[in-house]
């Protein structure tokens, strides 16, 4: 045994040494919590736009969903007898995304029930963070969409009795589906339209989404896949309708497409692992959105497209096992 002479001379205690397997370094600047905080920061432009467009209706949806999501997570996690994991901020992210995907006019209990289902059936029942197959926010939304069809369907978005301008109009996707009326690209881009409170502004989604991709929190492959699929398919639709580019932009900027592409489809838990898999996943979402918009009775299909692709994710993972370096 060597004497640690200098240390002893200094009169200090002997340092406590411990052993562990390598590697001995860790990137402590990047944690799951920081990923979730990044998403919260990226959501700021969308929240700001929803507050600007829908005023206290937006506040109501956000508060109801966040509180309900946090409470449901705490409830279900404690029912499982596990330590409460609110500190990772993932429940808050689910709450905000869920709120932003609801119409302004939906009553408070719609948001609350959606949150309850999102956390309980969407997430904790599978084993909590990282284990769920479907995006929790979309599970919650799908539930209320079926349970409260009248309060959630396209008609619920417009209500002339409300005092806000936006809510008295039809949503762009519904106006297009119902009567073939397109909204001005300017309004779609900046978000001066009706719709789910967080989806109206394409610009806000692009700003927040770009931030997420630059930070590396969201993988750019997913939005790239969604957007390329939509460009191809909406481009074909546009071409058959006279090829002036208007329809293409309408599909791209309208509805929840960009919001979904940047914020919902990029949920790492429910999307594939490899870059190739992520692109396939994104392209699948984009194609299903176009399929639903063009051929189904629904004006919009982002939620269903993402849920369907979530179900395909394990399969995509199996298809895209990467070849290790040197594997012929």
């Amino acid at each position: 045994m060597s004497k640690l002479s200098k240390t002893a001379e200094a009169g200090s205690e002997e340092p406590t040494l411990h052993v562990a397997p390598s590697p001995h370094l860790s990137d402590i600047t990047f944690s799951t919590r920081r990923m979730m905080t990044d998403v919260l920061i990226a959501l700021v432009p969308l929240i700001a736009m929803s507050l600007f467009m829908f005023r206290w209706y937006a506040i109501k949806q956000l508060v109801v969903c966040i509180v309900a999501c946090l409470a449901s997570e705490a409830l279900f996690v404690s029912m499982r007898g596990k330590r409460i994991t609110l500190a990772d901020c993932s429940a808050a992210v689910t709450g905000i995304i869920l709120a932003l995907s609801l119409p302004a006019t939906a009553p408070w209990y719609v948001g609350a029930l959606a949150s309850f289902v999102a956390m309980g059936i969407g997430k904790i029942i599978f084993g909590g963070l990282g284990m769920n197959i479907f995006n929790p926010a979309m599970v919650g939304r799908a539930f209320v969409m079926v349970a409260f069809a009248g309060l959630m369907n396209a008609g619920a978005y417009e209500n002339p009795a409300y005092m806000l301008d936006a809510i008295s109009q039809a949503t762009p996707m519904n106006a297009f589906k119902g009567s073939g009326i397109t909204t001005s690209i300017f309004d779609l881009f900046f978000g001066f339209t009706n719709g789910s409170i967080g989806e109206t502004s394409a610009l806000a989604a692009i700003i927040g989404g770009t931030f997420l991709c630059i930070r590396g929190t969201a993988s750019w492959h997913i939005p790239a896949g969604v957007i390329s699929a939509v460009i191809v398919l909406a481009g074909a639709a546009d071409f058959s309708a006279g090829a002036n580019g208007h329809l293409l932009l309408h599909h791209l900027l309208g509805g929840a497409l960009l919001f979904g592409a940047f914020f919902i489809a990029t949920d790492p838990v429910t999307s594939p692992l490899t870059p190739v898999g992520k692109f396939i996943f994104g392209a699948g979402v984009g194609s299903l959105v176009m399929l639903i918009r063009v051929f189904s009775g629904y004006p919009e299909g982002v939620m269903f497209a993402i849920l369907l692709m979530n179900a395909v994710t394990p399969l995509i993972n199996r298809w895209t096992i990467p070849h290790p370096m040197g594997d012929a």
Binding site: S2, T7, V19, G130, L273, P275
Partner: protein, 458 residues
Amino acid sequence: MKVMGFFRSREFPGKGSFPHGIHPPGNKFYSAGAEVEVIATPDKVVLPLLQHIGAPCEPLVKPKQVVACGEMIGEGQAFISASLHSPVAGKVKKITVVTLANGRHLPAIEIQTDGEQQNPMDLWKKMADTDWLSATISDYDPETIAKMIHAAGIVGLGGAAFPTHVKVMPNDKRIIKTLLVNGCECEPYLTCDYRLMKEAPGAIVTGALLAGRAVSAKEIFICIEDNKPEAIDALKIATKNTAIRVAVVKTKYPQGSEKQLVKAVVNLEVPLGGLPSDVGVAMSNVGTMAAVAMGVIQKIPLTHRIVSVTGGGITNPKNLFVPIGISIGELIDYCGGLTRDAARIIAGGPMMGFAFSDLATPVTKGTSGVTILTHAETARGEETSCVRCGRCVDACPMNLVPTRLAMAARYNNPALARQYNINACFECGSCTYVCPANIKLVQLIRTGKVQVAATMKK
């Protein structure tokens, strides 16, 4: 500068980099500026009989036998083995058992220093100050070089310690086209190769020429990461009138790993489970090349090496020229002892080195450094659930899916582990470094490899 680098025409076919990898803080500053210091001959040395990959060497000495400095005390008789020489003059005390930093218990020869010693400073001066360029490489034919390397007990000094004579042995089945001399030193903290390249470039160049001649290489590259401009300059000057070229590669971990460096410099992929020789490449560390020059030209066996003693947990970080077999505790004492917040002593670098607690552990041929980290440097967040973000996939230099491999290990599913090519993992630790959920991926993968090996035996 970086942008210009993009347009730079390279003298080698590779891109100077490999896909994926990580950028941990280099922290070379602790010891990069410290010139190599020669440590005085210790009172005793403990020399394990297996310091390399392969079969242990057979002891040639008995207790109480007097040995001279540089005398062969263990003979590597198997094909893949290496001989052992005494770094000191003295008397064999006993054949004992030591535990190395990697956890292996091995028989070792303990020698009590006695009598007149050779001054280790002379040895270092020979390596650093010899006029190496006057040596005539063509005097040595390939067979002789390989034999002399074998006689000098030289093994890879980069860490893996593979016997060098096996690599340079002329082999008709495996034609070597390129010799890569590895001076990347991609492990954070370590600076022993850097100091050697700066202070003894002539020995490296001469050794590379000898090894290149032994394997009949058509081209020789000395590969250095671009964060070591002074080493690059020193070697560019030293290689001026030779056929050797300096390949500047990107600073990225694990650039110095065998397969990654082959990809970066010669743009070939070493087949899974294969060796660089499968694609006509031989690779050796810069320290090994200097040892080859010493062994062949000066006929001095490998008894000393440079060890970096570095990190936030050591009072005075240094690069030391030490006899193999000296205890690591003596090196720590020489460097002023541990600081109060020292937390972990590692043989090697912080990414792939082994943590140990017994300061009597001897320096072996493969010990490139002793990294002493503080509590702050080893800080790691609490483990949370995998969110399948895929950052480990983006980090893995072998293009694997570490989270899947770790999951397979956790649920003891060797079939899944093999489907995801678990054995291609060389445990560089990049996945564990980046994981935002702080999952100990590579540690789990090691467990998985054992599970896979167990099913293969059945």
